[in-house]
Amino acid sequence: MIRVNHRIAEKEVSAVISSVSAAADRCEDMTSEEAVTHLTSLVSRLQGLKRKLEEGSKVEALQAQRCRARLEHLESANADNLNEWNDTRLKRILVDYMLRMSYYDSAVKLAESSNIQDLVDLDAFLEAKKIIDSLHNKEVASALAWCAENRSRLKKAKSKFEFQLRLQEFIELVRAGSTLPAIEYSRKYLAPWGATHMKELQRVMATLAFRSTTECEIYKVLFEAKQWDYLVEQFKQEFCRLFGMTLEPLLNIYLQAGLSALKTPFCYEEDCPKEDPLSQEGFRKLAAQLPFSKQHHSKLVCYITKELMDSENPPLVLPNGYVYSAKALEEMAKKNDGRVTCPRTGDVCNYTELVKAFIS
């Protein structure tokens, strides 16, 4: 953005200057009226530039504000507001998911209601939406314009998206039976890619011979409507890469990591506590294909109090083999004249019958 603005400014200013010197060179041939008109036109040209620059610097300021807001947001993470920060992070992740899924209304609503517009990329995605929509309508113009706008960065990333767009445009010409324009088009727009993508180029050129009604499998697919869906996918990928975003929604990445870290064989048992996300059908379904977590050391949680059992609160074994924390059983015994009841089997025993278990 900054660079584009600057280039426009440079071009305009130098054009005006050379125009002035040109005029100076041939001013003898001009009437003063002509000279005035000429200069006035230069002035209005410069004023146009000025407007553009002002607009541009407004956009720049907005972008800078966004960067700053994000940095400040990162910086604001500390122990005191951890909950709030985590909440904002989840919202950011959800907005990101919605944008990638093209749930724009939800994304805008969530971002606005939680006042995090500066922390998410609404504009960029709305811009992308236009391009995606036009690709769905089988139009490449806006996608090509986007390629032109980002040419140097796409080139650096060795992107062939523009080539793919051109190929599709060529295919559409062949489909329409416009052989000559198709050849013309390929000379102008496809040939430059020949050096790097000769194979694909040749395959597409061959369609000139086969036409859109071909039954030959490798050419037939080129004419299928799903090629446009493929372009949409391709565009989404290029877009994410250009913005330094992951290809997958953040939600999927974090959710996958979290579910994998939480997943134990016990999550799938009937008495899985409801605080465990994996006690719910939906989360179980999502985690089905993920690996289980691993532990190197025992981690024991009291079935009754959900507290950790360790040397402070040691595990006690009932005669029936079930284990609960000392805290829980002591309390139970106090309330019931020294008797404890196993909540899982209903067995009753005396507190004195319990034995301590040592787990290293």
């Binding site: 603005n5 600057h6 400014a9 440079e10 200013v13 130098s14 005006v16 200057i17 010197s21 001013c27 003063s32 000279a35 005035v36 200069l39 410069l46 000025k50 002002e54 720049e60 940095l71 992070r89 919605m98 899924m101 209304d105 939800s106 609503k109 969530l110 992951t246 939600l251 990445i253 974090y254 959710l255 996958q256 990591a257 979290g258 579910l259 994998s260 870290a261 064989p265 016990f266 899985c272 605080e275 465990d276 996300p277 939906g282 999502l286 294909q289 691993k294 532990q295 050391h297 025992s298 024991l300 959900k306 950790l308 083999g321 899982r344 034995v355 301590k356 278990a357 040592f358 787990i359």
Partner: protein, 394 residues
């Protein structure tokens, strides 16, 4: 590297950017001024005047413009900006670059399931518009159907909570009465607390008789179990209309500060979720927070595995290393046999030895040479027979 370095770099870029755009605009302004002044001069010259005047003016303009040297100025400011900018982006890359998608396994989450989870997440926060909007955007009627029941339950909950906020306890009381049994099973005294709130509210307004009627009808049933509480409440009758002067003025259940009211609101939310079979925290929040904690470990692992065992990352049944999460994510007892260093299972359960130490069944089989003879505990000097060891359940 810390965030301040980045912030400094960013500030520099931002400053240069501002500077550069002011410079550009200044240059353009100056050029405009010069040209305009020449235009004015020309207009003041008579038409039939010598064209040399015009020539002079033009060459003056040219040299003036050269003096402003707009191109050089533009270039210089831009160059500085670019240096700053590229430094900044390099810093950013260094700091943020760990591509978190490396730890991603290519499995497709079922989108409908995911949307149901998100919609429910919004509903339970009372963000019904958002939940509906998402279901709408997803154009997924089956998801909408799947979350409909929970949505209406949460609508009920927020109806009760919102009424409570305006001081109207009726909905809350009627809900608590309907679920009286189940609340008691949860060892919650919410119903009593709500009646208490209502009773004190009546007293505060000074109506002693009304309060007494209320107490007879609603508080009496609790008297046997909550004797102390009820006595205190009845004692309050003496201070009807001037509770703040009563000996209970500092008792939070009587003075009913907003903190106390919030506490009760929170307890109602918890109990409502619990009776719905829902967790207290949003499970989506829990899973994502766990993900944020676990991701760094997974990333390291993925980086190591990318070099040697890329295929395994996609197929492994269990992570090869532990991912440490906070205590709040520990929902299950995991027993790891200290001898075998393996997680216990149905086939290889934890066994308690007579000395009190716990190892896995397989370890005992090994130590006792297939249960054939007594063995020494690996952790203390005591000996044990296989018959003395018994399976335990955490």
């Amino acid at each position: 590297m810390d965030l301040n370095t980045i912030k400094d770099a960013f500030d520099r870029v931002a400053k240069k950017q501002k500077l550069s755009s002011t410079t550009t605009q200044d240059v353009v302004d100056k050029v405009i001024q010069e040209i305009e002044s020449v235009v004015r001069k020309m207009q003041s010259i008579d038409d039939d005047a010598d064209s040399t005047d015009q020539k002079v003016l033009f060459s003056e303009l040219r040299s003036k413009l050269n003096e402003i040297a707009p191109m050089q100025q533009l270039e210089a400011s831009q160059k500085e900006l670019h240096i700053g900018l590229s430094k900044y982006s390099k810093l950013l890359e260094k700091y943020f670059n760990p591509d978190i998608s490396k730890a991603y396994r290519h499995v497709d989450f079922d989108i409908s399931t995911l949307n149901q989870i998100i919609a429910t997440h919004f509903y339970r926060q009372g963000l019904f518009d958002l939940g509906d909007c998402l279901v709408n955007d997803a154009a997924d009627p089956s998801a909408a159907e799947a979350v409909a029941a929970l949505k209406s339950s949460f609508l009920d909950m927020y109806r009760i909570l919102n009424a409570m906020k305006t001081g109207n306890l009726e909905a809350a009381l009627s809900w608590a009465a309907t679920n009286s049994e189940r609340l008691l099973q949860n060892e919650s005294t919410l119903e009593l607390k709500l009646h208490q709130l209502q009773f004190v509210e009546i007293l505060r307004n000074g109506s002693k008789n009304e309060a007494l009627t209320y107490a007879r009808k609603y508080l009496a049933p609790f008297a046997s179990v909550h004797e102390d509480e009820i006595q205190k409440l009845m004692g309050c009758l003496l201070w009807a209309g001037r509770l703040d002067q009563s000996p209970y003025a500092n008792d939070e259940s009587i003075s009913q500060t907003s903190t106390y009211r919030n506490k009760i609101t929170e307890e109602l939310t918890q109990q409502f979720c619990s009776l719905l079979g829902q967790s207290n925290e949003s499970p989506l929040t829990v899973a994502i927070t766990a993900g944020v904690q676990g991701l760094p470990t997974l990333l390291k692992l993925a980086t190591v595995m990318a070099a040697t065992k890329k295929q395994e990352w996609q197929t492994m049944k269990q992570l090869p290393v532990p991912v440490d999460l906070g205590r709040e994510f520990q929902f299950h007892s995991i027993f790891v046999c200290p001898v075998l260093r393996e997680q216990g299972s149905e086939e290889n359960p934890p066994m308690l030895m007579p000395c009190g130490h716990v190892i896995s069944k397989q370890s005992i089989v090994k130590l006792s040479k297939s249960s054939s003879r007594p063995f020494k505990c690996p952790y203390c000097p005591l000996e044990a027979n296989v018959s003395q060891c018994r399976q335990i359940h955490f």
